[in-house]
């Protein structure tokens, strides 16, 4: 339909006024709350050129923070991707008692405060937690060590891959998969050659979301980490630590780095989502 002129054909003054009014309110709000502060942070960070930023981010603490962040985030993403694809396949392609329950459970992490996540993990995997003694006896260390941080990060980003893949799976339907099976493909072949390519973009989208979320987790990680500089300090914890030591430059540098990563992931994920939509 070529009509774009809307309902009221006549442009009355009243209507333009309300249109500009709404636009002003919306954009004004976004400016004050979002755009201006973000611009400010970039300005502050780059105020004295990129030199100080580079120095801050290449210090040994920063570099190890980046390293720890990457290890933790990637591990969490890998775990959640496997889980995510499996859960999506189950929820969409299979019927079983408790299916709706599973659907609801997957969303739980969204409603849990990050601090509570940390507490919950400590209560189970900490020294005095449920499995604490078993863990100690086997010489493992989960809380205050990397595994605990991986768990915390995996917790908070749990639903992301499922929720990206499931709708696409549902939308494309299983007819192609059925066709493949009638032609003799077994389950793994069907998945690898039929299902997977069709969800590839959606999966990529979910992974990017998941990665961005995992790189940026703070609250849950701050509880379960030992805050040991160089060992269990992620970039977000690094920012916190630097601020507490009045090292604004380093804090701002890391903040800007994470902000850029966040924006980049938004751009990429948006492109992936459009591509996934147009393919299905």
């Amino acid at each position: 339909m070529a009509d774009a002129s809307g309902v009221v054909a006549v442009q009355s003054n009243r209507r333009s006024a309300s249109r500009y009014g709404l636009r002003f309110v919306a954009l004004g709000y976004l400016l004050v709350l979002l755009a201006a502060p973000v611009a400010m942070v970039f300005y502050r960070a780059f105020q004295h050129g990129t030199g100080p930023i580079w120095r801050s981010l290449t210090s040994s603490e920063a570099r190890s923070a980046i390293e720890v962040t990457l290890i933790v985030a990637i591990s969490a993403v890998v775990l959640n991707t496997i889980f995510g694809v499996g859960a999506a396949l189950l929820l969409v392609r299979r019927r079983f008692p408790g299916r709706h329950l599973l659907d609801v459970l997957v969303d739980i992490p969204q409603a849990v405060s990050p601090i509570v996540v940390g507490l919950a993990l400590i209560l189970v995997y900490g020294k005095f937690g449920f499995f604490g003694s078993w863990i100690e006896r086997n010489g493992l260390k989960i809380i205050f060590s990397l595994p605990g941080m991986v768990l915390a990060t995996a917790f908070v980003s749990l639903p992301l891959v499922v929720r990206s893949v499931a709708p696409v799976l549902a939308e494309i339907g299983d007819e192609q998969e059925q066709a493949a099976r009638t032609l003799g493909a077994n389950r793994w072949q069907t998945f690898r050659r039929i299902t997977f390519p069709s969800i590839r973009d959606a999966l990529a989208y979910g992974v990017v979301l998941s990665l961005a979320r995992s790189l940026g987790e703070y609250g849950a990680v701050t509880v379960v980490s030992g805050h040991v500089v160089g060992k269990t300090m992620t970039l977000t914890l690094f920012i916190d630590e630097r601020l507490q030591n009045f090292d604004q430059t380093a804090a701002y540098s890391a903040a800007v780095l994470l902000a850029i990563i966040a924006m980049g992931s938004l751009l990429i994920s948006r492109r992936l989502r459009t591509r996934s939509r147009s393919n299905s």
């Binding site: 919306a26 709350l33 942070v41 599973l102 299983d174 940026g216 609250g219």
Partner: protein
């Protein structure tokens, strides 16, 4: 980038299932051949359940269990202790206010994004999702730079309740926008044209035709925003100074309880937060179903 929960089962009806007459169960060999094998499902289900249990369910269960490990009354006592109670009241009041404010602003923004056009709209679209993507502590730094002690605009809200409000407005901004926007896009424009031909003014059309169709999405977004707000930590702790009884929210108090080795207190408050969040989301689920019945 809005990982808002949309039930995987929402598109239930469109998922084709092997046609079979009601009440007749296909023999095992047929099931195995068609790939709907019970074995594969069970294994997958088992693994998924295991993962979910050890990562999410057992830990959350532990929180609830811990809060009553010295008895329910002790748990309750912890929650109602003056400082914790003050933090809870503060958290809930500000969260409700913020959720409602962003309900209005979110709807306005969604409207402007869908029905209006201006240069730079695509930038705005992208910007909206930023609070979703930004680490909470970075959000805190961002707000601090403009509205903190060294603000060039000489607006310093650090150590005030306003700081909490601003931080929460920031992190909950995209929720209502992203739930309302798709509904607005899908809205049948002919409905508005029909209402106009029947004599309704643009204002009346907005109030009686458009808005009622947006209400479910608005409620969902607001509920999600509220659930997020009551648990927020990173951005608030940076801006508000966490002054007990003045600018300390529940999440911060819980953190302090953990640090000062009071797990029961921490668990009890956590249980309260969990309970509130689940009640809100459960109510939303009910609401969506009720709305769905009306088409």
């Amino acid at each position: 980038m809005s990982p808002l929960p949309s039930s995987a089962l929402a598109v239930d009806a469109s998922v084709p299932t092997a046609a079979r007459p009601p009440g007749v169960r296909p023999p095992a060999w047929w099931r195995a051949r068609s790939g709907g094998s019970a074995g594969g499902t069970s294994l997958g289900l088992g693994l998924v359940t295991l993962y979910l249990s050890f990562l999410v369910l057992i830990p959350l269960g532990a929180v609830i269990w811990k809060s009553q490990s010295n008895g329910w009354s002790e748990g309750w006592h912890q929650v109602t202790s003056p400082q914790a109670w003050a933090a809870l009241k503060l958290t809930l009041t500000i969260s409700v206010g913020v959720a409602l404010f962003n309900l209005v602003m979110g709807t306005v923004i969604a409207w402007v994004l869908v029905r209006d056009d201006f240069p730079g709209k695509s930038v705005v679209e992208l910007l909206i999702d930023l609070p979703f993507a930004l680490p909470t502590i970075v959000a805190g730094v961002v707000l601090l730079s403009l509205y903190g002690p060294r603000s060039p605009a000489h607006i310093n809200i650090a150590y005030t309740r306003t700081a909490i409000t601003v931080a929460l407005l920031f992190v909950t901004l995209p929720f209502v926008v992203r739930t309302v926007q798709p509904v607005l896009i899908e809205l049948d424009r002919d409905m508005e044209a029909a209402a106009a031909s029947l004599g309704a003014s643009p204002f009346l059309i907005a109030r009686r035709i458009i808005l009622p169709n947006l209400v479910p999405a608005m409620l969902t977004g607001t509920g999600l925003a509220f659930a997020r707000a009551i648990g927020e930590f990173g951005s608030i702790s940076l801006l508000s100074g966490n002054l007990p009884f003045r600018t300390e929210v529940s999440a911060v108090n819980i953190y302090n309880q953990i640090q000062s080795d009071n797990p029961v207190g921490a668990a009890a408050q956590s249980t309260v937060l969990l309970f509130i969040a689940f009640v809100v989301l459960f109510a939303l689920d009910r609401l969506k179903r009720w709305g769905g019945r009306r088409g």
